[in-house]
Each structure stands twice: as structure tokens, then as C-alpha cells.
Amino acid sequence: MPDVASAAISAVPRTPRWAHSANTVRRLARRRSTIAFCLCLPLILLTAGFVVYPALYAIWLSMLNKKMITFVGLDNFAFLLRRNTFQLVIFQSCLFAVTAVIFKAVLGFIMAHLMHNLSGKSQRIWRGLLLIPWVIPLPLSTLTWWWMFDPSYSAFNWLLEQVGIGPVPWLGVGWIARFCTIAVNVWFGAPFFLIMYLAALKSVPEQLYEAAAIDGAGAIQKLIYITLPTMRNIIAITVLFSLIITFADFDIVRILTGGGPQDLTHVFATYAFQVGIQSGDIPLGAAGSLFMFPILAVSAFFVLRGITRRSKEIAA
């Protein structure tokens, strides 16, 4: 019923009271959409030429042989899946992304909560300090981490020596090296979660907490019954968004370990780089990086759904 009414209202200006005016309106509308399309054209061309086309081209490339002459169907994918190294790459990519995102989300959440207690002015100062890892270009800060992980005389090993623990071969042993790559990613990405959560915490209405306090709710109950449900959407968006970025990460592993020791830290991106650029087998590398696609697509779908919901919430 209200729909009909609103339709009737919106139809009013369109009724042709003056026939020629309706014509003008239509012509204006057409001109308007032409202008609108022209304003978008550079972006359309850019994304079509350097995002959509390469993405489709990657699929085609991945089905060629090394010299890129013969069509081999899905052989590259099958070959990769049979390779022990690539099975490890799949495992390591998932381990890297999932562990890093969980730690980033938890640490970011804790930091955001701590910051939320502070007053506005000191909050700015602390935020300024805590965001610094995010500001320094990642390849450069990863170099520092590399230097800190140096096995002979490094920052960390010196500290450990002071408490009587022998030198740790940080990047020389599989599981320790995996831990190191994840730690660097957490260090770099946690401030992003902090900022997102802090913005979301500010949007939780204060009255809800007051009402809960009157009802005798403790801090943990407030967290479980008010904070988390209100922030659910932002948490989901941030986590999935970060999952995409982390999953496709290249810089950290490339600089810190180069995939070693014994390919035990390779992720999809670094493996594709090694196979495609360094060994010159572009089709095989393209096939390797395309294995990222399903996870990226699923995450992207849910991010988009989350954002649509959120904008509806804001509008409502």
C-alpha cells in the first residue's frame, strides 16, 4: 500500500502536463547519462585494460605450455597439485593468512578497547604512535625485521642471550621461519584493525552501556551482549578484507625468507613469482597464482554483502 502511494508521488513530475516539456526532460536525461558515462570512461578503460583483461588473460595463459605455444588444458593445475612443494604452498598460504588475521583481529580489538577508555586528546597521541607500523612502507620495515632476525648478532638473539637462551636460527628453520613471517604481518596489520574497531566502537550508542550497567552487567557481559553484536558487521568486513590482503601478500615472505628454508615459507604470490619470473615459466606461475582465486572470490562476495548491509544500516 505505501509502495503504491510513493509510486504515485514519484510519478507526478513525470506526467506530461506540457507535452514538449516531457520531451525536453527525456532529452536532458539522455544527455545527462551520456555525460555521466563519459566521466566514467577513463576508469572503465583503465580497469578493463589492466584488471579485467589481465585476469581473463591469466586464465588463458595458465592453460599453455612453458613456451606459450601449445594449449595444454588443465595440465599445469594438475602438475602443480601433484607437486609436493605446491601442496606445501597451499598449506603455508592458508596457515599464514588465517593465523595472521586471527592475531591481527584479536590484538587490534584489545588495543581498540584500551584506547576507547582514554579521553579524546590522549587518544590521538596514542593512535598516532600505534599507527606508525602501518605508515612505513612494508618492504622497508621488512628489511629491518630481516636485520633483527639476523642469526649471528641480532637484536632478538642479543636479548635472548641476556636471559640465557642460546641463539635462535630465526629464518633458518621451517617452523620458526613461518612464525617470523606471520609475526611481521601481524606487526604491520594490527594497527589497521585498531583503527577500524576504534571507529566502530565510537558508533556504539553510550545509552546501551548505561542501560546494561543499570541492569548490573559486568564488563564481559557488556562485551558479549552489546559490543560484539553491534560491531559484528564491521568485524566481518575487516576480517574478510584483511584475509584477502594477507592471503595475497608478497612483500614479507619475498624479502624475509625468499620462500626458504627448503620452500617451507612460500605462499602463492612468492611461489608464482619464483616460477613465473625467475624460472621464466609464466603459464605455470599464472596457474599457481590462480589457485588464490576461489578464496579471494568468496571473501570478496561476503565483504560486499557486509558493506551493502552496513550502508543500509546507516541509511536506516
Partner: protein, 299 residues
């Protein structure tokens, strides 16, 4: 009636809980400061170590004695070496040049597109604005191999200008997304008034929307700057000779030769290369943060 009696009954008790709540809050505040202090120490340890190492001489680093976290004989020799080192100058100039061009191109593409998607409609515009966001989610590591062929086809392999073509694909979609958010938040009356005064759409964009949406434009600029200054994969894959390199790959390929690590110089180079983003951040933190959060809270 019953409500007023309840409130009346509660007054003494409430006073007691309020003072205890205040004490509780004070404790929470101090706890927060201490915990945040720990986080700051952990998060700022690497930048601090970068700075310390950059001030050390090669002798001090190779001596391997004493506390590596502090510098015993500070020297600016590493910085001086880099500033007078022609290769490093080339990297810096290349980075600056590419970044300026990329920021200009990205904004020139993003602002009109965002205006059109936020304020005007055309067939498929709704789907396209979703598509813009999706292109932002496509990572560089998925595209760099087919792009290698495309860049080769354009004759731009080992040419620093290939980055001026490729970086806008990373920066423009998100910049557009930020700008769509800003443009949609402006009141509709603004364009109605402009239309009544006889302004065309281009005039409306240039004379009204761009000045009003300046905060959004600054946020988008900072984002494009960050992307273009810090990217690593494309230059590593497509640039080979030192006269074409930018800072991120130049530092790594030039200062690390085989097994020889000149850590003092590498760290000094990191400090110098981090200066522009840190500088911008120090002055425009709020815009920086706005750009960061825009992806999920706007639009």
C-alpha cells in the same frame, strides 16, 4: 508513580556505586595506559632499531659487541654516503616522479568517475560502482604474470614509466570508492541549487563538488601516494637496471650484494625512504585515518 519511588529509593545506593565506579574507572585508565605502553614498545621496536642501526658505523656493526639496541658512537656517515650516492639519488627521483604522476592520474580518473557514480545515473552505473570496489580487491599478485606479457607488449619492460601505467590500477579504484562516499554525503540541495542557477554538470563538479569534498580528495591523494611509494611487486618484476629502479627495489638490489649486507647503509636508506610517508602522516593523520576507514564505513 512507581517509577519515581524506585528512583527515590535508589539515591543513596547510587551515590555509593558511583564513587566505586569512579575508582574503578581510574584503575581501568591506568591499566589501559600500561597495556598500551607495552603495545607501543612492541610496535615501535623495529622503527627504533632502524634508526639506531642507521646511526652506526660499519665498524661498530661488525664488531658485534655490546647492546645492539643502542648506538655507542653515532655517526651520519651512512646518510652522507647515500645522499652523495648517484644510484640512490636516481631511485629517489624515480620514486618521487612516479608517485606524483600516479597521484595526478589516479585522481584525474577517480574524481569524475566518483562524481558520475554518486550523483548521476547511467545504464549499468550501479553495477559499475560495485565493480569498482571489486577491482580494488583484486590483488597485484594475481595479475603480475599476465601483466608481464602486457607490459612487454607495450615495450615498457625495464622502463620505470610502466609503473605510471600500472599503479593507477591499484590506486584509482579505491580513490573512486572514497570519493563516492564523500560525494554521496553532500546534500542533494547543493546540485539542485547549482542546476537552478544554470550550471552544467562539469561546472557543478569543478566549482562546487571538488572544493566542498576537499577532505575526501586529500584522503584519496594520501592513499594513492602510499600505494605508489611503497609497492614492491611490480617494480621487482618489471625493472632490472639500477637507472630505472624505484626506492623499494633499489635499496634491496643495490645495497645487498651477494652475502655482503651493509646494514648501516640499508637502514639509513630505509629511514630516508620512509621520510615522505611519515612526514605526510605526521601532519595529515586524520585524513590518513579517514582514507583507511572509508573502505568499510562509507558508501
Amino acid at each position: 508513580m512507581s517509577a519515581s519511588t524506585v528512583i527515590f529509593d535508589n539515591v543513596p545506593g547510587e551515590r555509593r556505586t558511583r564513587s566505586s565506579a569512579e575508582r574503578h574507572r581510574k584503575w581501568a585508565l591506568w591499566g589501559s595506559y600500561i597495556a598500551l605502553g607495552c603495545f607501543v614498545v612492541m610496535l615501535l621496536a623495529p622503527p627504533f632499531y632502524t634508526l639506531m642501526t642507521s646511526l652506526k658505523s660499519s665498524e661498530e656493526i661488525s664488531a658485534q659487541s655490546g647492546n645492539p639496541w643502542i648506538v655507542h658512537h653515532p655517526t651520519l656517515a651512512n646518510f652522507w654516503y647515500l645522499i652523495t650516492y648517484p644510484n640512490f639519488q636516481t631511485y629517489y627521483v624515480n620514486s618521487l616522479m612516479i608517485t606524483v604522476v600516479v597521484v595526478v592520474i589516479s585522481l584525474a580518473i577517480a574524481i569524475p568517475a566518483a562524481f558520475s557514480l554518486a550523483r548521476m545515473r547511467f545504464w549499468g552505473s550501479q553495477a559499475f560502482s560495485t565493480g569498482v570496489f571489486l577491482t580494488y580487491l583484486v590483488p597485484a599478485s594475481l595479475l603480475f604474470l599476465p601483466l608481464f606479457k602486457i607490459v612487454g607488449f607495450l615495450g615498457l619492460i625495464n622502463n620505470v614509466w610502466c609503473l605510471a601505467v600500472l599503479y593507477p590500477t591499484l590506486a584509482a579504484p579505491f580513490a573512486t570508492w572514497i570519493m563516492i562516499g564523500y560525494f554521496s554525503s553532500l546534500p542533494k540541495e547543493l546540485d539542485e541549487a547549482a542546476l537552478i542557477d544554470g550550471a552544467g554538470y562539469l561546472q557543478m563538479l569543478l566549482k562546487i563538488f571538488i572544493p566542498v569534498a576537499m577532505p575526501g580528495i586529500i584522503a584519496a591523494t594520501i592513499f594513492a601516494f602510499t600505494v605508489s611509494w611503497g609497492s614492491f611487486l611490480y617494480p621487482l618484476a618489471y625493472l632490472y637496471t639500477s637507472n630505472q629502479m624505484v626506492l623499494t627495489v633499489g635499496i634491496i638490489s643495490d645495497l645487498i650484494r651477494g652475502d655482503v649486507f651493509q646494514w648501516g647503509k640499508i637502514m639509513a636508506a630505509c629511514v630516508l625512504a620512509s621520510l615522505p610517508p611519515v612526514f605526510i602522516y605526521a601532519f595529515l593523520m586524520d585524513y590518513f585515518v579517514a582514507g583507511l576507514t572509508a573502505g568499510a564505513t562509507k558508501g
